[in-house]
Symmetry: C2
Subunit: 591 residues, 2 copies
């Protein structure tokens, strides 16, 4: 193929004396001593172009009309820069283009904000003019990285003989799980499709079809109230496979992650990843997605303080709760009483009633609760917490879930505040041995902790009837730097087991048949043992790109109210459209 | 990675004496002289397994319980078959497995239909039990081919530096084009998203963002009444690029197609593809997507018959229409008067009032209209149509559009009937020089022939105001074997031109701003010249796989009434769901 255009950002010293044709955007223009300098930007980067009356009067004349973000075409010669004007900060800084011709392909208004690197422009404005925001280098880089990661993963899965397959978007609404986005049917008035929350059932059916290894970059939808790290539509790397064990699926995922880290980040990560049971994760990190880039673990001190004179401690243990502590090493002096009061307010968000504290001074525990502790208790605490002079010890005593949640959150807050986190690390971790079910006190029934198709572990099968709350699942979550990257499980593949599961979840036989009849049928028509995993791709890209805002990893994201500020979706539709769908919008909510 | 399981279909003579572990489905079981034979099927193919009491009583005993489509695990040894039992039709036919162990992983009911090659089972039943239908070899092969084609295209575009990018599914409804699928918003009561008919505007915005080269396997949605070759959701290979000419985009597409044909079909196709103007395609093939695998072209004979005594001919020409003919070579004796009557009924479907005919016998034209033709007219006709003895000549005289449509359809019908088509050929063709606009007599306004963002050709710019109907578009359609694979165009990239286009289409400035304000804004904020193409991926796979039913290329397709017979989508939803969306379903249509 004849190369008729060169890429601005790729020109180097070797290209000196070449004649080039460039097309791109005017990053900026400077007029200096009768010359005009333009920084020309295209997808590959930036190069400096010089307009000189001696080379071309005409080009110089046109260059005078050029403004930022004009789209131009330039012919010219690559020349060496004077020693004094070499710019070592630019990749093309050793050369410049002496322009012989300039054409304006399209003009531009003054952009609503400057196209620079990182920016503090209000996000709403960036989203309204997303096509301009996306011109910024960090955004360009993020989406190039996203593309590259996609290809690495596809090539890996292709090599491992997974078939990329497309499941439907217009599917059936199911009541378990999050809220569905619905799509009214015109042909079947009063009926609705639902957009998929995940291709879960279809990928299971593909296993029943004998495809054995499936993957898809699947768009998924959840109509939930949005938090900073949620979007109404998101992409997951969706994988399902037949005849493999949990360990084999985890090992395959590790090979995939190793390849991504190697090819995208140039980092060699160690496999297998650490595996940690759910209970251990909660006990040690107060989180089911531990950030293991720093230690400062939760320490269970219940035994040491269960007979303590400090009633808050002893009664928490007595009533079936626990007392755990964090040792904030060497920071005793940095935290005043007032600072600790603020930490106390923080843990209250998570339901803790208070935050007890001690400081270690000259080998002794000091602080308001010290006087309630016997020497033996104090000694045991110091030893359990490996407490030394200048350490600050923070305690929560409460029911177990509150202790874990509040200290887990406090640990993360302090980790960030005290810069304990090595931001260059990528710590992958498997959390395993999940509970299969969660009991909802309010509704008085069990819910599936993951989804109702998850297999119980073999040894707990019998407990499903006697003590469902204690049954563990054949499930595994992949955690990266404290974020849940995704998770998977082996699935139930026998009809009787699936029936039993629906029973435990409070479905009548009719309800199960009505909603999941096709799955139940499939399970008794030659369903193989199968399982899989789904990884949140947007979040993975966020972590790989070192971003903190999920919206920076999605080309055209929605706001917290699920609006697209660029196209102004959602919007009103015509009466004809509603009539065709046999729908009316109620007025009452509009008031 | 330790290979703990072998693939059934890959075992060969070289594997004799190996111990293997196989997992898969029982294709069939035969009992013969105290032995049991099982054909074991997995994703890779089929192998024969023998259960022999001398090898394992236990395994034989379990094998007795096994039925078709049971899922089993087998340990055994690969052994040579006796000469007499070698099956040359099976790839694994030289060997069999002597089973030492058998485990039933899951049972199966008797399948609702047999899993065989091509099948004549009713499609509704196949769709209801799609997970069983997909086990058939032709289906497995189609989806393996689909996967492979996907990878070839991705690798090609990756090498040419296109970035794979994901555009939103929850977008804004726009009135131009087909009917949108709508998605009610819960957060904004009474407002709706629309599912994309194509990512057209987003890919244009990505060009304005400076990404320069974009692609996506994009899921698209159209709520139209379905024909055999339409689905409510479908996949297109969506490509957009900046700074390239139509010719460059077509050349890139040709490189891509060449690679697919080479790597997927092992066929070396010639490039560049034939390019044919729209007018020529209509004149010669009566179609804007000519099947060029056979000739039998339409021949315009208006000049030869305009003064004919046969009034049907002369008055058609006189009133601005035309007379064209097909020469059905050497088939005069095969078509009786009754046969020709049936062809006449066929062309009437397309609005033709009749079908005139002549046969050539001993160098003379014979037939009911022969007597109206002068010797000169007859001679001219024979020469124009290269008519020889035994040829059948078929004429339609009408307004031009009817002549083209009816003879174009008749040509295809006869091509199939007379087996004139070489089914092994893949004939790619570009149709270019499309009209930009189509006039709707009923509504009294112009509509965009492709979409309102298509660029007019440079030389017709001025006609946009004076004679819009004659303006040609910078557009190109890719045709394969008479199917429209897809099409593309250069896009309008300047606001004034886009304003003018909306004006011609009858939009007020306010309407244009209301619906496409964000695009108009983008065009005056540094939009580069850009264009692209979109190819129907499902249809492409249909042609590559040699299928005739589009539904055979989609894993879980919808029926003609847009239903999924497997999951029974669409379905009813709860009152709570409707209340949350602030919607009511009207009763009247249900009566």
């Amino acid at each position: 193929m004849k190369q008729i255009r060169q890429m601005a950002g790729k020109l180097r010293r070797e290209d000196i004396q070449s004649h080039v044709k460039l097309k791109g955007w005017v990053q900026k223009r400077r007029d200096l001593g009768g010359l005009i300098f333009i920084d020309l930007r295209d997808r590959s980067g930036i190069v400096q172009v010089v307009f000189n009356p001696k080379t071309s009067e005409k080009a110089l004349e046109i260059a005078e009309k050029v403004r930022s973000e004009f789209v131009v075409e330039i012919d010219g010669e690559v020349v060496e820069r004077d020693g004094s004007t070499v710019n070592p900060k630019m990749e093309t800084g050793e050369i410049e283009i002496l322009a012989t011709r300039l054409a304006i392909l399209n003009k531009s208004k003054t952009p609503p904000f400057q196209i620079e690197g990182e920016t503090d422009v209000a996000e709403d404005l960036r989203l309204k003019y997303r096509y301009i925001d996306l011109r910024r280098e960090p955004m360009q880089n993020t989406f190039k990285l996203r593309h590259q990661t996609t290809q690495v993963i596809r090539n890996f899965l292709n090599e491992e003989e997974y078939l990329e397959m497309e499941t439907p978007m217009l599917t059936k609404s199911t009541p378990e799980g999050a809220r569905d986005y619905l799509v009214p049917s015109r042909v079947h008035p009063g009926e609705f499709y639902a957009l998929p929350q995940s291709p879960q059932l279809f990928k299971q059916l593909l296993m029943v079809s004998g495809f054995e290894k499936y993957f898809q970059f699947a768009r998924c939808f959840r109509d939930e109230d949005l938090r900073a790290d949620r979007q109404p539509e998101f992409t997951q790397i969706d994988i399902e496979t037949s005849f493999m064990t949990s360990e084999e699926i985890m090992a395959m995922t590790e090979r995939m992650m190793k390849k991504v880290m190697e090819q995208v980040k140039g980092i060699d990560i160690e496999t297998p990843f650490v595996r940690m049971g759910y209970d251990e994760a909660m006990e040690r990190y107060g989180s089911d997605k531990p950030d293991t880039r720093f230690s400062m673990e939760l320490v269970n001190v219940s035994e040491a303080v269960k007979a303590s004179g400090f009633k808050v401690f002893s009664s928490a243990v007595e009533s079936g709760g626990k007392v755990s502590a964090l040792n904030v090493k060497g920071k005793a002096s940095e935290y005043s009483r007032k600072d600790i009061d603020q930490l106390t307010e923080f843990v209250k968000i998570y339901g803790a009633k208070g935050l007890a504290w001690l400081k270690v001074e000259s080998g002794e525990l000091k602080g308001p609760i010290a006087k309630f502790l016997s020497d033996e208790e104090a000694g045991n605490l110091q030893s359990l917490l490996a407490a030394q002079d200048e350490d600050l010890l923070l305690f929560v005593a409460d029911k177990t879930s509150v202790v874990h949640e509040s200290l887990g959150a406090l640990r993360l807050k302090l980790g960030k505040e005290l810069k304990l986190i090595d931001e260059t690390q990528f710590n992958f971790l498997w959390v395993t041995e999940w509970p299969l079910l969660e009991y909802d006190e309010e509704l008085g029934r069990y819910f599936a902790a993951h989804h109702p198709f998850t297999m119980p572990v073999q040894e707990d099968m019998e407990k499903l009837e006697t003590n469902p709350g204690e049954v563990k699942a054949e499930a595994y979550d992949l955690v990266l730097n404290g974020y849940e990257l995704g998770g998977g499980s082996l699935r139930i593949y026998q009809r009787e087991m699936q029936n039993k599961m629906f029973e435990v979840l409070g479905f009548s036989a009719e309800e199960a048949e009505e909603q999941f009849g096709f799955l139940l049928d499939a399970l008794e028509n030659g369903a193989p043992p199968h399982g899989g995993i789904a990884l949140g791709f947007d979040r993975f890209i966020m972590l790989l790109a070192g971003r903190t805002n999920l919206r920076d990893t999605i080309l055209f994201p929605k706001t917290a109210s699920a609006s697209d500020l660029l196209t102004e979706a959602p919007g009103s539709v015509s009466k004809t459209q509603l009539d065709e769908l046999n729908l009316t919008v109620k007025d009452n909510k509009k008031d």
